[in-house]
């Protein structure tokens, strides 16, 4: 039982209950079904922490840096489909959360971030730990609020959850001054509270669905290009996507954000698309006559050179966010709607209108795709003496694929791309990576959040030695909450992707991409109370991976890999999908315009 009676659930009560602002925060979280929050206390949130102290049923995870709290909440959200909740203090607490908020906005992750603020009478006076939180976070949230009246607090909190989780998901911030936390006011539950204007369209126009299935039935060289929207829509969308492929036999590729929505083990799967996508996926995208974009956004990492992007195809674009249609690439048919609802209608119309695929043409298309597959674009030259990063990921995958409970997070860089290419997913919500923002330091705290939600699962952060040092302190969080996360570091001593670009674009002038003073990760693990492992030879890798999995503690595994290895295939910046480099021998001139791109 809760020690504080006002914090227990009172279902269906219409009249406002009287309580303090701090109590309202905790009560609203409970009414919203929140069981975990990630946070860090400070002066301006002490009343909320005090209310939290008296309540049961909400687990608070104390991080070591507010950025870690937000990434952990992202990991939690992405692996569960529920919103992630963060509680931090004013000033530096809020500014430290900004990277995570931007990350969540770019990748459409539902988060509710509660920040403390100095008391209302001190706002604007440069008070201690004051910052303009709503001003700073306005461009990196879906919406944000400063609550100056305790009687608006409950409504704002419930609206915050509604906005974070409906339509295209995203992060929101509710900034709560300390005096509002102390004041007493009326609390209303989430029932009957809806935002005045926010009504995202989730039902697709059926006329466009009819058109879409007609285009699909007429297609000779179709490809499905699916994205994070399928994952965000929920597991039903992934199931329906599989059903659509069952019905049509169309080839399918996916963005980085969409991995797992379609099982990588199935023959229709072409692998990752884009800058480091497979030969077959990119060539099929380039040569197709119908592109069916389901919940992706024509990101520059996918399209390459837009003017040369899939020049001969008609394009269908399904997105829940109308602003994404025709943003980068003009499409022939835009469908605004939720992925699951739209896919369900597509399947229904395909069946009821008795559509058939162009089977002869499709057979030829698959023959062409099989030819592209023969390139085996993910091949690499292995070594007996030095661990190739690709080999390390292959072994990690082989030794874990029999389990049904593997969750992978990553940092950002070469290791992330190798993981996306080589670690194959069969289910959605198993792959958590920073796609849009490309946030080094994402993976370790995200793993904390994932493990918190799935205590018995195998949670692996495939990391680089540079990225992981950005949020390394969260190992301490993992220890505190007995979270046996596995940090699988592909240690090449370089910021590998920076080094790769310097090699290709900047005449091998490796300006400040080499870390001359790396910590001893094994000793570091021990200092945290975790387990440290190191592998330097390919022959010892399997046994060490097995050991990593067997240990019921957080593990830092320092895998010493070839420092010179580059990530291929690669579409050089400014290139088209059919201008891929497969190996360093391909050379590949990069245009001046291409060098300008990131």
């Amino acid at each position: 039982m809760d020690k504080d009676d006002t914090l227990t659930l009172g279902a269906g009560q219409a009249a406002a209950e009287t309580m303090t602002g701090a109590q309202m925060v905790i009560r609203a979280l409970k009414d919203q079904g929140v069981t975990h929050i990630f946070g860090y206390p400070g002066g301006a949130v002490l009343p909320i922490y005090d209310a939290l102290f008296k309540v049961e049923g909400i687990t608070h995870v104390l991080v070591r840096h507010e950025q870690g709290a937000v990434h952990a909440a992202e990991g939690y959200a992405r692996s569960t489909g529920k919103p992630g909740v963060v509680l931090v203090t004013s000033g530096p607490g809020a500014t430290n959360a900004v990277t995570g908020l931007t990350d969540a906005l770019m990748d459409s992750i539902p988060l509710v971030v509660l920040t403390g603020q100095v008391p209302t009478h001190l706002i604007g006076t440069d008070a201690f730990q004051e910052c303009d939180t709503v001003g700073i976070t306005r461009p990196c949230t879906k919406n944000n609020w400063l609550v100056k009246d305790v009687n608006n607090l409950a409504r704002t909190l419930h609206e915050a959850f509604e906005i974070a989780t409906t339509g295209r998901p995203g992060p929101v911030v509710v900034d709560i001054p300390k005096d509002v936390q102390f004041q007493t006011g009326g609390y209303h539950g989430p029932h009957a509270i809806h935002h005045r204007t926010w009504r995202p369209k989730t039902d697709p126009d059926l006329s466009s669905i009819v058109k879409a299935v007609e285009m699909m039935a007429a297609a000779k060289k179709p490809i499905i290009y699916s994205g994070g929207g399928i994952i965000n829509s929920g597991p039903e969308a992934s199931r329906l996507l599989r059903e659509l492929v069952d019905l049509t036999g169309f080839p399918i590729t996916s963005t980085l954000m969409g991995l797992g929505a379609f099982p990588a083990s199935r023959p229709e799967w072409l692998g990752l698309v884009g800058m480091h996508g497979t030969w077959e996926a990119n060539h099929a995208m380039h040569d197709c006559d119908l592109m069916i974009n389901l919940g992706a956004r024509f990101d520059d990492r996918v399209t390459g050179k837009v003017s040369a992007f899939s020049p001969g195809s008609k394009k269908i674009h399904l997105d829940i966010d109308p602003s994404q249609i025709n943003k980068i690439v003009r499409v022939d048919l835009g469908i605004v709607g939720d992925a699951a609802k739209s896919l369900r209608e597509m399947i229904r119309f395909w069946k009821t209108q008795k559509h058939q695929v162009q089977s002869a043409a499709l057979k030829d298309w698959w023959k062409q795709i099989d030819k592209w597959r023969e390139k085996k674009s993910l091949n690499y030259r292995n070594s007996d003496s030095i661990i190739k990063p690709q080999y390390a990921i292959d072994r990690l995958y082989e030794l874990t694929k029999h389990r049904g409970d593997v969750y992978v997070t990553t940092e950002v860089g070469q290791h992330q791309m190798w993981a996306a290419q080589r670690f194959h997913f069969q289910e959605p919500n198993r792959w958590m990576t920073s796609g849009g923002l490309g946030t080094m330091g994402y993976g370790l705290p995200a793993a904390v959040g994932v493990q918190m939600a799935h205590p018995n699962a195998l949670v692996i952060d495939i990391a680089g030695e540079a990225s992981v040092q950005m949020t390394m302190q969260e190992m301490s969080t993992a220890m505190q909450y007995d979270l046996p996360i596995k940090i699988f570091i592909l240690n090449n001593e370089y910021m590998g992707m920076v080094r790769q670009w310097q090699e290709i674009l900047h005449g091998k002038r490796y300006s400040h991409s080499y870390s001359e003073a790396l910590p001893d990760f094994v000793k570091m693990a021990e200092a945290f109370g975790c387990v440290g492992l190191r592998a330097t030879k390919p022959s010892e890798l399997d046994a060490k991976i097995q050991e990593m999995i067997a240990v019921k503690k957080p593990v830092l595994f320092d895998v010493r890999v070839d420092p010179a290895e580059n990530c291929y295939p690669m579409i050089p910046s400014g290139g088209a999908h059919n201008e891929m480099l497969l190996s360093p021998d391909d050379g590949g001139e990069i245009s001046d315009a291409g060098k300008m791109l990131v």
Partner: protein, 179 residues
């Protein structure tokens, strides 16, 4: 069917957009921040509460861009949570609403003798009325399309123009309906 790619359509046009928003703290910053953050232009901006009961404000923005950019601006504005409605008054697409645009300006001209007389004569022709008069200056109030105000200001320049204050554009639809 469309061309596959968005045309490299370099024709930049001026568009007047009206955004009806909840009159809540920070809503103007949200709208303006969208423009600066995504690299869109603002040529003029007019904002005021228009319905105290419904707590709505009307923001009228004059912007410029290719049709593709303007479409993106409209979509991005609609995406903001406090936005009720977005209308483009410079829309040539099918079904678009026709609108009336007006702007008010206060124009100060200083001078004596022939120039002063000429300024007053010009003001009369433009139906600008003096709202402050001294022996050596006028402040004219003028209402009209932004183009009319531009012309008036240009004419005043050689006649001793010292200061201009413009309200930005207000716009409303023709006919019996609201925006």
């Amino acid at each position: 069917m469309h061309d596959t790619k968005i045309k490299p359509d370099n024709e930049v046009d001026r568009h007047t957009l009206t955004v009806l928003v909840d009159n809540e703290a920070g809503v103007l910053a949200r709208v303006v921040g969208l423009f600066s953050g995504r690299g869109y232009n603002i040529e003029s901006l007019t904002v005021a509460e228009v319905d105290p009961m419904a707590r709505t404000s009307r923001i009228t923005i004059v912007t410029s861009g290719t049709m593709h950019v303007i479409e993106q601006i409209e979509q991005q504005l609609k995406r903001l949570v406090p936005t009720h409605k977005v209308t483009n008054w410079t829309d040539t697409r099918e079904g678009a609403k026709a609108g009336i645009e007006r702007e008010m300006a206060l124009v100060k001209v200083a001078g004596t003798g022939e120039k002063r007389v000429e300024a007053l004569r010009m003001a009369d022709a433009f139906r600008a009325r003096p709202v402050d008069t001294t022996h050596s200056s006028f402040v004219f109030e003028i209402t009209g399309t932004p183009g009319k105000i531009d012309s008036f200001v240009d004419l005043m320049r050689p006649l001793g123009l010292v200061d201009v204050s413009r309200t930005g554009v207000a716009a409303i639809s023709r006919g019996p309906e609201a925006m």
